[in-house]
């Protein structure tokens, strides 16, 4: 194959900062696209790229070993690896990435794919107690597995987003007593809204989870040896626990870009629909690209609002678009049009989603029944279908992806298989976006590429 894009394609140097799913996929796509130059992947963790979804599922339950989750292709890629070495800065004018060990990597093009990290427990002393863990990476999961193997009296999961709910499910699978606390009225409220979240709440309780919604954990208390033993809630109750899993959503890894002159902040790295990063004035750069959880980009299907998507498929699809656009002249560039999709397996149910549920203010069950629970729910906004969520009905999702892409009317006019007798349109009941919840996985970040004002600060006294 002839090298893509002339001299750059033959001899250029691409630096990919972030060696996880998006970084790896971009590297593969660059090679598949004919890039013959130098390729360097920088990662803060010492491990080659691995798949994160099993961490809160098979790895926790022991079905899979933590070292077995390395992604296919990672070791065979023609690339230089700088693993265990975080990037600490980016020099836009000099086109260099600075690494923590003092090295600098010059680049012709760079991909920012530094992803997110778990939001830590806001009180650092309590967060340092043994038995207080977050789950984002391999090391965290190994720590939690170790704690669970010790046979804790009770596991507390703080935050009932997807990660927290999956961990609670895994703990119940191991036969451990579990309490889940959630500030919103239901689990998954930030991602699916309270109406569908109520179904998730019922599932949790059926599986024996002590689910407490509308409460916050105010403090964690340790014993003399520094191991967590108690949790205090804002309704006055105290829980006797031996493990506290902090599942309060994600924070974007953009601190290393501070003062870089790029449009990067707590809400992510702003890029255009072709993954090219904006500078702090909202001007698009030529050689800086972003993909994966850390990127926020205007989505053509959803009014060009900037969305940050914390999804597995987003990491892959966006990385492919970024790689393509790195290699092609402007007349051949591709926009990122992928309809967001994700899945979560918990309490024996497969939950899948397409589109952007938090854009919807209304929801209607169009197939099946929430009582089983086996159903398809559609989300609507201003008479338009913007998302579909299935519980154990994943086979229908592709049909609804087409409806979302086609801006189909809401509520839908067509008839379905297994249609309920009445299609009652309900309020979706998403929590006030100003209230911090567990992290919705799709974050609406406004229409401005340089929006940096919004930031989530933990309330005083350790409350979240």
């Amino acid at each position: 194959m002839s090298p893509a894009n002339g001299a750059f394609g033959a001899n250029g140097h691409v630096v990919i900062v972030g060696a996880s799913l998006a970084g790896l996929r971009a590297a593969e796509a660059l090679r598949e696209g004919g890039f013959q130059g130098r390729l360097t992947l920088v990662g803060d963790e010492p491990y080659e790229p691995y798949d994160r979804p099993p961490l809160s599922k098979q790895v926790l339950t022991g079905q899979a070993a933590p070292e077995s989750i390395a992604l296919p292709r990672a070791s065979g890629l023609d690339a230089e690896w700088r693993l265990g070495t975080p990037a600490v800065g980016l020099d836009l004018a000099g086109k260099r990435v600075r690494l923590a060990d003092g090295d600098e990597l010059g680049f012709d093009r760079v991909l920012i794919a530094t992803g997110t990290r778990a939001r830590p427990w806001p009180n650092p002393e309590e967060a340092a107690l043994v038995g207080v863990v977050t789950v984002r990476g391999r090391d965290d999961t190994v720590r939690l597995r170790h704690e669970l193997a010790a046979g804790p009296r009770r596991v507390l999961v703080i935050g009932a987003g997807f990660t927290g709910s999956e961990i609670a499910s895994a703990c119940r699978g191991l036969g451990l007593p579990v309490t889940v606390t959630e500030r919103a009225a239901t689990p998954l409220a930030g991602a699916l809204g309270g109406t569908i979240g109520a179904v998730a709440a019922r599932l949790q309780r059926e599986y024996g989870v002590d689910l407490r919604c509308g409460v916050s954990v105010t403090s964690l208390e340790g014993d003399d040896a520094g191991h967590v033993r108690r949790a205090h809630l804002d309704d006055g109750t105290t829980l006797e626990i031996d493990v506290a899993v902090v599942a309060l959503g994600a924070q974007r890894n953009t601190e290393w870009l501070r003062n870089s002159g790029l449009g990067a902040g707590p809400r992510g790295v702003a890029c255009d629909a072709g993954c090219r990063v904006f500078d702090m004035y909202g001007i698009v750069t030529d050689d800086i690209f972003a993909a994966g959880d850390v990127a926020r980009s205007p989505h053509p299907l959803f009014g060009f609002e900037f969305l940050a998507l914390e999804h597995w498929s987003n990491a892959i699809e966006q990385a492919e678009v970024a790689a393509h656009n790195m290699l092609h002249a402007e007349s051949e560039r591709r926009p990122y049009l992928h309809v967001p999709t994700f899945w979560s397996f918990q309490f024996g149910v497969s939950i899948k989603s397409a589109g952007v549920p938090p854009l919807g203010d209304q929801v209607v069950i169009v197939q099946g029944s929430a009582d089983e629970p086996r159903f398809v729910a559609l989300y609507g906004h201003h008479g338009r279908t913007v998302a579909a969520v299935t519980f154990d009905q994943g086979k229908w999702l592709e049909f609804y992806v087409n409806q979302i892409e086609g801006a189909a009317p809401f509520p839908p006019q067509y008839r379905n298989v297994a249609q309920p007798e009445s299609r009652q349109v309900l309020q979706a009941e998403f929590p006030d976006p100003a209230l911090p919840t567990e992290g919705p996985m799709i974050v609406r970040t406004g229409h401005s590429p340089t929006e940096r004002a919004w930031t989530l600060m933990p309330a005083r006294g350790g409350r979240r």
């Binding site: 798949d51 098979q58 899979a64 390395a70 497969s350």
Partner: protein
């Protein structure tokens, strides 16, 4: 670099829980409930043939496998 172990990744957006893989490689793939597929991403070598068959039988081509010893 040669791969030392088999590696599997399943695109679970694509997976619809047909369960062909569960029948063909029961030690590697299992369904929790009706369609939540859990799998061992790095199974033992003796699972290779069942896993390759499972990947080939997947109606939605969601399973990606790399064999040990393969130039990855």
């Amino acid at each position: 670099m040669k791969l030392m172990t088999m590696r599997i990744v399943v695109d679970l957006n694509r997976c619809q829980g047909y369960g062909q893989c569960v029948f063909l490689a029961p030690g590697v793939f299992e369904l929790h409930g009706e369609e939540a597929l859990m799998y061992d991403p790095g199974p033992e070598e003796e699972q290779l043939i069942p896993v390759v068959r499972a990947a080939a039988a997947c109606p939605v081509r969601a399973i990606r496998v790399e064999r040990p010893g393969q130039q990855a």
